[in-house]
Each structure stands twice: as structure tokens, then as C-alpha cells.
Symmetry: C2
């Protein structure tokens, strides 16, 4: 299996990318194609004693600037490390693509270069978030700020396929993010989506309120990209706020009691650490595209590559296509 990796995406590129890829080659047995400046990558690898075994480099000097408009990614003439990776994926040179660059550009590039699965209306970046019981997938987490009910149903279908094939969950529970439990709650969007989800054949458990999210009571949380992005960032923000407070509580408490609690704190940190999960799958693309967190370190890159490999193995895109074509056939009857 070949995973293409944007070597110049994210805050810690290229060093942490290289470290993560080295580990992926060693542990997962995958091959890697790195996109980006060949000289810089070789220099960085040799300066940090990183072996490039199992990796090849596709050279380009250009890097997509995170502050640029997303649509710039598809402008001809520009050959950024992200755009090159997407083109290689579209051309069949690799099986999946990982980048920690701009989410907007990656969604745009994936849509127009790699293309959508037949029948899928929109691509949805869908991170898996840590929770008290296991983890849950949030979809859409930021791409489509205005959605129609059919789009939310597709997000639910794609999220279910992902949780089943990649996370190994049988009949994933799907919840609609809403402001109350009753089916009359929410906007027109939620009321209509609720009805469609009931008929979808998915394991729809009804509305889920935001306060339930950290408990991890359902596996796929469906919402529009505006609400999803607010929820995602608040989830991350509250997590790092409490993590900071935890440090403060223990600062200066260097006693047996603190040591006793330390193992539990480590367990909690590991449980709530997004780096353990990898990145955010761009569901709806013909081939797996993973958006790694902008601040990814080596561990996060390793996990993003692992996640990409699992998407390939589980044939998530194929599963989604199969489901969507069945749905289309049913609705035509």
C-alpha cells in the first residue's frame, strides 16, 4: 500500500512529518510518497538521522499558504505540495493522501482533483473525537455551512461506513445534533433530517444534545458544517482549557499524592488526546483523504497515516458508493 503525504503541511513540517512517516513505514509496512522540496526533505532527514527507506519524494518547491483562499489550490500553474499529492492520488500513484495543510484548500482540492463518489453531493471533513466511552465521529465539522436535509443524511451514511469499516463498530449509532430530544425540536433542517434519518436504514437513535457529546453515547454525530465547526472548536477549546487547569492544579504539588494521581491523569490525557485518533477524514472523496491537525506532531502524523491505511483496507469509499447507489435505487422505485 502506498500513502501519499504532504511533507510541507502543518505547523511542524517537515521534521514531524518525516518522523511520523518513518514510524509508519517501520510499524505498518506501508510505502510513502512525500510531496515537497526534495533537497529540504533530504537535508532535514540527514540532519535528524531519519531513514528515508520505504519513502520516495515527488519534488515541488511550492507550498500552499494557509492564509490563501481555498480556491487557489485548483489554479493551474501552481504546484503546491498539497495539490501535487492530490494529483498523484487522482492518477493512481498512491492509495490515500494525508495533509496537515489548510482544511478549506484540501476540501476544494479533493472535490475538484480527486472528485466525489458518484451520488455524493458534498465532501464532509469528519474528525473522530475522544469521549468518555470510546470516541465519536462528528460530520460535517466545517466545510458546508449551509446544508439541505439530504446532505445531512449523506453525512450520516458516510460517517456510519467510516465508523464500521475503520473503527470496527458494528451498526454505529447515529445521532442528530439538536437543541432538544423531541422530533419537533430545532430548525426546519433538523425537523426534516430527522424524518429522513428514520427512513434511512441507519441505526438512528434520534436527536442528541450537545451536553451528551463528551459521554460518547453515540458513534456518529450529524450536523451542518457551521454548527459542527462551532462544536468541534469548543470541544477542543474546553479540552485544552481543562488540560491547562490540570497542570496548574498540580504545579508545586510534588508529593506522593500527586504521583498517585499522575497515572490517572496520564490515562485521561491519553483518552482525550486527538493525536491518538489521527486526523479528520474527508468523507465523500473517491479515495481516502485525511486532514491531519495543523499542530500535528510525529505521533499524530503516524496515526493519520495509520488511519489512511485503515480507510484503504476497509474500502470506505466503496462502501459509501454501494450504500448510496442502493438508496438511489430504492428511492426510484
Amino acid at each position: 500500500m502506498i500513502i501519499i503525504v504532504d511533507a510541507f503541511g502543518g505547523d511542524n513540517a517537515p521534521l514531524e512529518v518525516l518522523k511520523g512517516c518513518q514510524e509508519a513505514v517501520a510499524k505498518l509496512g506501508v510505502n510513502i510518497i512525500l510531496t515537497g522540496s526534495s533537497q529540504k526533505l533530504k537535508d532535514c532527514a540527514s540532519a535528524n538521522e531519519i531513514s528515508l527507506d520505504g519513502m520516495e519524494i515527488e519534488h515541488t518547491d511550492d507550498v500552499f499558504d494557509i492564509h490563501e483562499e481555498p480556491k487557489e489550490i485548483i489554479k493551474s500553474g501552481k504546484n503546491t505540495s498539497m495539490a501535487l499529492g492530490l494529483k498523484l492520488l487522482a492518477d493512481g500513484r498512491g492509495d490515500a493522501f494525508v495533509s496537515a495543510g489548510s482544511t478549506g484548500a484540501l476540501v476544494m482540492g479533493a472535490t475538484f482533483i480527486v472528485k466525489r463518489i458518484k451520488g455524493i453531493k458534498r465532501i464532509a471533513p469528519s474528525p473522530v473525537l475522544p469521549a468518555d466511552k470510546g470516541s465519536f465521529l462528528l460530520t460535517d465539522a466545517g466545510a458546508n455551512t449551509e446544508c439541505r436535509p439530504e446532505m445531512l443524511v449523506q453525512f450520516a451514511v458516510m460517517g456510519s461506513a467510516y465508523m464500521e469499516k475503520v473503527m470496527g463498530i458494528d451498526k454505529p449509532k447515529v445521532g442528530l445534533l439538536n437543541i432538544g430530544a423531541e422530533d419537533s425540536k430545532g430548525r426546519e433542517l433538523e425537523i426534516e433530517t430527522y424524518k429522513l434519518l428514520q427512513q434511512s436504514g441507519l441505526n438512528f437513535i434520534g436527536n442528541i444534545e450537545a451536553r451528551e457529546l463528551p459521554k460518547g453515547e453515540c458513534h456518529v454525530v450529524v450536523t451542518d458544517g457551521f454548527t459542527g465547526n462551532i462544536a468541534l472548536k469548543l470541544y477542543e477549546g474546553m479540552g485544552s482549557f481543562f488540560s491547562k487547569k490540570m497542570k496548574w492544579i498540580f504545579s508545586g504539588a510534588g508529593t506522593l499524592g500527586a504521583l498517585f494521581s499522575l497515572s490517572k491523569i496520564k490515562l485521561l490525557k491519553k483518552q482525550m488526546d486527538y493525536k491518538e485518533v489521527g486526523g479528520s477524514a474527508l468523507l465523500g472523496v473517491k479515495k481516502p483523504v485525511i486532514k491531519a491537525h495543523g499542530s500535528s506532531d510525529a505521533k499524530a502524523f503516524y496515526n493519520a497515516v495509520r488511519q489512511a491505511a485503515k480507510c484503504v483496507e476497509g474500502n470506505v469509499a466503496g462502501e459509501i458508493e454501494k450504500y448510496v447507489s442502493t438508496m438511489a435505487a430504492v428511492s426510484k422505485e
Copy 2:
């Protein structure tokens, strides 16, 4: 000053209501009108040795069921403790009203019984949430799921008046809850609201992303009622999740180290405790109406009465009316 209190709203009524009111009479020097079953209140007071000095009871046997449709509150013939309180407020029998009953019913009842401030389009329940630096007001936190830009601007105006007059903050900073910092981010609603807020004369600091909320960098966070409710409930949910985890970390760690950290934990708990702030002000009503949290205990009820008294003293409703009429005059020029 007379504060009317729904003695049968919330999960812990009437005992915790009575305890909170007793403390409010003693410490704040206010008088209280309780609405609800006279016999039950007297029995509860005597069984728990609570003095009813400074309180009078307006009797009704009916209580609004939290599961009923909000519009039931304004049906004639029904005289629930909540509806009665709102009528007494409208009739000038008291200066403000506090209830821990159904938010939807309270918004509906306040709108049709007490009425809106002239020029105000919608009433917005606006809780003050604890944050690292002080606290912030979230508006709308749940009533108006579909909003127009002018409505969001009014929420910002009302929130600013509240933070200035009740919380004593000079020129409160207003942020628009959005999915990015740039003025081009968000839906049509955010893009248009951004422009209007820039011209509003308020201390508008631009878009604020959800991950910044726990830091408390701005004083008034403006959004529509759907997004606001998702943010509010996630904020509360994450708070109680981490509070639970904190307990777990310290369970069994009964040593000096744990004791050392305990004072810091108490400080953090006090800082992040919504009960310290009181309830959620229903901004836009002619007279102060405070929605106390459904699970309010005596302390929370005391603080809600204190908050109601501060709204009366600061003449928040008058300030809002003044601002809105100035705005109307300016826009007519």
C-alpha cells in the same frame, strides 16, 4: 424592591427556592412574592424551619409542566405559578421575576404577558457563563433558532447593556461567534451581522471562534439561538465531564499532595460554577425576568434573586430602550 419568585419551578422546588429566598431577604434586603400553593409552601417552610419574613404568597395550585408545549403558558384559564408570577410582574406588583421552570414557556409568557421593550424584535435568554478571565454573556442561548442580522445586532445591544449595568463592565467587548476570524467567514447571517455590528457603535471586536470561549476574551458573545444553545450545552457538558473526571483522579488519593491541590480545585470549581452567577436573563422584556437553571439549589436561587435585583437597580430594560430608540432615530435620518 419586590422580587416575584416562581416557588414551584425547577427540580428542587419548593425547598431550595424557599432557602434561597430566605437568604435573599436577609442579605439583600429585598421583599419576595412567592407564587404557588400556599399550604405546601407554609408546610415546607415550617418543616424545614425556614422563616417566611419578608415574603408573601400569591396562591395558585397549578404548576407548569416542563414537558408541555411552551404556548400552553398563555392559555387562559390556566393559572400556573409561572403564569401568575408573570401577570403580577405585568401588573406592577413586583419589580422582577425569577423562575426555574421551562425556558420555552418563560420566553413565551414574558413575550405575551409582560411584553417586549418597544422596538425589540425578539426576547433572548442570555446566560452569563464562567470563563478563565471573568465571565461572558451568551446571547441568544436558545429561543430564536432562525435569526435575521438585525436580531443579532439587537442581542448584542441588549447584552452590552446587561454586562455594563449588571456586571459593571465598561464598554463590554462584543464578539460574533463564527467559524473563523476573517469578516468573510460564516453564513450569510454572520457576514451581514458583521457589517451591521461594525456600524453599531458597540465595542465590536470581530468574530470569535468557539475555542476562545473558555478564555473569556470578550464579554458578549452573539449568535443565533440554535448555535447558542449548542454552545451553551456543550460548555455545560464539558464542564461537568471534567468535574467528574477530577473527582475520579482524586478518588483514593487521600494524601498530603491531594490536600495541597484541593484548595486549587475548590478555586477552579468556584470559578467555573454557574450557580455563582445566577440564571439566564431574558433580555428584551419590559421588566427583568430571570430564568434560573432547572437544577438550581438554594445558592443558585439566591444568586438569581440577586441578579434580578441588580437588573432593577441598573435599569437594564430602560437602557436597552434608550439605545434602541437612538438607533431608530439615527437610521431614520
